[in-house]
């Protein structure tokens, strides 16, 4: 029996997330289409359906390239994620960075970012959701514009 649209969207979502985890970059829709056994244009249409259903991520404007697929980002940000000593991931924002730990079960996941005030480093290490190292100890999260579309600025900024 053919997959339903919901099943196809679930499969593509998982492929994208797994691709990001495995390689540090989001796959292109043509790669996704091949992996899912569908035509390229069907893959492109399905990617748009997935992004509509997951609006906290987005495609780069005027393209079909996955720019952001939280908690990780295709486009580099100041939130660098390292696992097993290898830095090849970026988080969408400082808040989503604390969620990256759930993509690497059992691993120490390190977040490195410059403080936007002074440029000095902020380092957080987590394992399975637990904070295991924070430097400096006073690190805080800050939401500058509030959640919700009514405030006019993307909350991730």
């Amino acid at each position: 029996m053919a997959d339903s649209q919901t099943q196809r969207m679930d499969r593509m979502f998982q492929r994208i997330m797994r691709g990001l985890v495995d390689t540090g970059r989001p796959p292109h829709y043509a790669e996704l289409a091949r992996a899912l056994g569908m035509g390229v244009e069907d893959g492109r249409a399905l990617l748009h359906a997935v992004m509509s259903a997951y609006p906290i991520g987005w495609l780069h404007p005027e393209t079909d390239y996955i720019a952001s697929f939280p908690p990780l980002n295709g486009l580099p940000t100041q939130y660098r994620i390292s696992v097993r000593g290898e830095q090849k991931w970026f988080a969408q924002c400082g808040f989503e960075a604390t969620s990256a730990t759930w993509l690497f079960p059992g691993e120490a996941v390190r977040i490195d970012a410059p403080c936007l005030d002074c440029g000095d480093p902020v380092t957080v290490e987590m394992r399975d959701g637990r904070l295991v190292w924070v430097d400096p100890p006073g690190v805080v999260g800050h939401l500058n514009h509030g959640f919700g579309p009514s405030r006019g600025r993307p909350p991730f900024l």
């Binding site: 919901t6 969207m9 679930d10 499969r11 979502f13 998982q14 997330m17 797994r18 985890v21 997935v50 259903a53 997951y54 908690p71 939130y79 924002c93 400082g94 808040f95 989503e96 960075a97 604390t98 969620s99 730990t101 759930w102 993509l103 977040i111 970012a113 403080c115 936007l116 005030d117 002074c118 000095d120 902020v122 957080v124 987590m126 959701g129 637990r130 904070l131 924070v134 400096p136 006073g138 690190v139 805080v140 999260g141 800050h142 939401l143 500058n144 514009h145 509030g146 959640f147 919700g148 579309p149 009514s150 909350p155 991730f156 900024l157």
Partner: protein, 78 residues
């Protein structure tokens, strides 16, 4: 949605929004906010259809629990 070395550093940030004094969250609370049950299933085969739709309610419950049930955090109209 940024991490700063301290609240004082955030307030000195050139783009700090004066209306965002309510926008601070401790790191342990932030880890909890972005570590709720649905977050633990992001690699599951049914995440998009089963787990992601539960996230909004889960977030509302969490911000209420940590005393941040205000429009700024809930994403509701002021």
């Amino acid at each position: 949605m940024n991490l700063f070395r301290s609240e004082e550093h955030a307030r000195r940030w050139a783009q700090f929004n004066p209306a965002s004094e309510v926008g601070f969250i401790s790191l342990p609370e932030l880890a909890g906010f972005f570590g709720t049950e649905t977050r633990r299933h992001m690699l599951d085969a049914d995440y998009l259809s089963v787990w992601y739709p539960k996230r909004a309610a889960e977030r509302r419950e969490y911000v209420t629990r940590i005393g941040k049930a205000v429009p700024f955090w809930l994403g509701t109209a002021d």
